[in-house]
């Protein structure tokens, strides 16, 4: 179970001379959790933006299961199985928790206008299945009791969990998590850790940007250290955190 799911080859990007990605080569494998470590401004979130197509690279290519994604727009890449979360969560405040998750199913026949106008019978079945999947996911995260609540009424940690649950409603083959643990503690922390591990065990390739070194150490199979838009090292998390050179880069002078 270590097939290459995502391959990034020689990715470059700079904004007005500021390099955010320099010759990035990265592979993510099925069933493995990779932690992306580095100081602020190292280009970790930018790398997610380049992989998902939110930002277009200057050069380089991104492959999902061997197929190049470069010509596809962000939503199309997501439909292929590239899923991501956001540092600032970005939930839909006008919708309940359950409805936030239902938007996460890529294809919802009830959302095609013609189907709305001429309601087909199979819609009800699809709707029921999607609701069951969403409820099941929420229950596994310990959020079953807040399915009907508005997301703004939830504590921050639970909102982060909803963000991850929403990204898992599609058929993700590769999951990019942007700081899932920032501001998360207690039960939500444990739930997050459990769910990310579960996702990886189902064969999804996971990449996590995180500042919480304990979380990285507990969860990640390996770590990648980024600095100034370049990958400086890749190895076990223990090795990376022991390396005095990397520690100095991380904490500055």
């Amino acid at each position: 179970m270590t097939a290459n799911v995502l391959e990034v080859r020689e990715l470059n990007k700079s904004f007005d001379g500021i390099v955010v990605a320099r010759e990035i080569n990265l592979t993510l494998q099925s069933g493995r959790v990779v932690g992306l470590i580095g100081p602020n401004g190292a280009g970790k979130t930018s790398l997610f933006n380049l992989i998902t197509g939110v930002v277009k690279p200057d050069s380089g290519t991104v492959l999902l299961e061997g197929a190049p994604l470069d010509r596809l727009a962000f939503p199309q890449r997501v439909r292929r199985g590239l899923s991501r979360t956001w540092q600032h969560i970005r939930l839909f405040p006008s919708l309940s928790v359950l409805d936030n998750l239902l938007i996460g199913t890529h294809d919802y026949p009830g959302e095609r206008l013609l189907n709305v106008l001429f309601r087909h019978a199979h819609l009800a079945e699809h709707d029921k299945a999607a609701r069951e999947r969403a409820s099941d996911l929420l229950a596994r995260m310990g959020l079953g009791h807040v399915a009907g609540a508005l997301v703004a009424d939830l504590p921050y940690g639970q909102q982060k969990l909803v963000g991850v649950a929403r990204a898992l409603m599609g058929k993700a083959k590769c999951l990019l998590l942007d700081e899932p643990m920032a501001g998360v503690e207690g039960q939500s922390y444990a739930a997050m850790q459990r769910i990310v591990r579960e996702v990886a065990d189902r064969g999804v390739a996971v990449c996590v940007v995180e500042h919480n070194v304990a979380f990285i150490r507990d969860l990640c199979d390996e770590g990648v250290f980024m600095f100034a838009g370049a990958i400086m090292a890749r190895g076990t998390v223990a090795d990376l955190t022991r390396d005095p050179q990397l520690t100095e880069l991380y904490f500055g002078h």
């Binding site: 997501v78 956001w86 405040p93 006008s94 919708l95 309940s96 409805d99 890529h106 206008l113 990204a167």
Partner: protein, 297 residues
Amino acid sequence: MEYLYGIIIIVGLYVILATSFNLIIGYGGLFSIAHPVFFALGAYASALLARELDVPMPLAMLAGALVAVVASVALALPSLRVSGDYLLIASIGFQLGMLEVIKNLRFTGGPGGLTNIPPFLIREFGRESYVLLVLFLAVAVTLLVRWIARSDYGRAMSAMRDDELAFASLGRDAMRMKIVIFGLGSGLAGLAGALYAHYFRFIAPEQFEILQSAAILTMVVVGGLRTTWGPVVGALLLQALPQMLTFLNLPPSVLGPIQGMLFTGLVLVFMFFRPQGLLPAEDVWHGREGLGGTRRN
């Protein structure tokens, strides 16, 4: 009686215009001021098809709506590709430019307008039949927009309006959704135009000026953005009330300014005392109970 029928029809048409504009600006979050020109396109297309080519009138009216759909999609496609804000700029250009085109073409009657538009239903069944048709369609359009807003499609519109990037990150195409909303809303304006043309039987460019856009926007905002009945109340208040004043038998020199003051006065009062509109805007999405959506606990 004929005067009263005229008022009812005008109010009914403004209900369609305000409700369809509510779909665009309220539910879709799309800023456009070209609503009057789609109203005009529907009116001109239907009138010309019926007058010049003897197309049966129900067909001509549908074609009028279709012309508005096609024109709006043609406007939205390139502008939304640039950015959402660009639609506003493009719509100003389209509103002003298209009206100039209509003024300068020969077959549209130029600035003088188009006369002798064939009437629909009036000769055979009397004016009442047309009043009923317009009222029926006004109710139908209001319920249609309500149905869409509360369906799964409405839930997706709500999410798209909340956060477009998050919407895209779930594999959803915000641009396609915006084009559909804009096309449908503009098509309904075109239908209102066609209904207008075959009752009043005279249309001229001055009836579709940019000021109409302000009037329609005011109806939606005063009535209540993203509500079913807000645009209906807005259209009633801002169209029927000034018209009713004419029954007071005031001399025209007094009546005109009073109507103007009433209109601007209402807008000012609402801006200060009730900016959310008569009916509060729905910031939380409500689906139908059961199948359609999940209600808040």
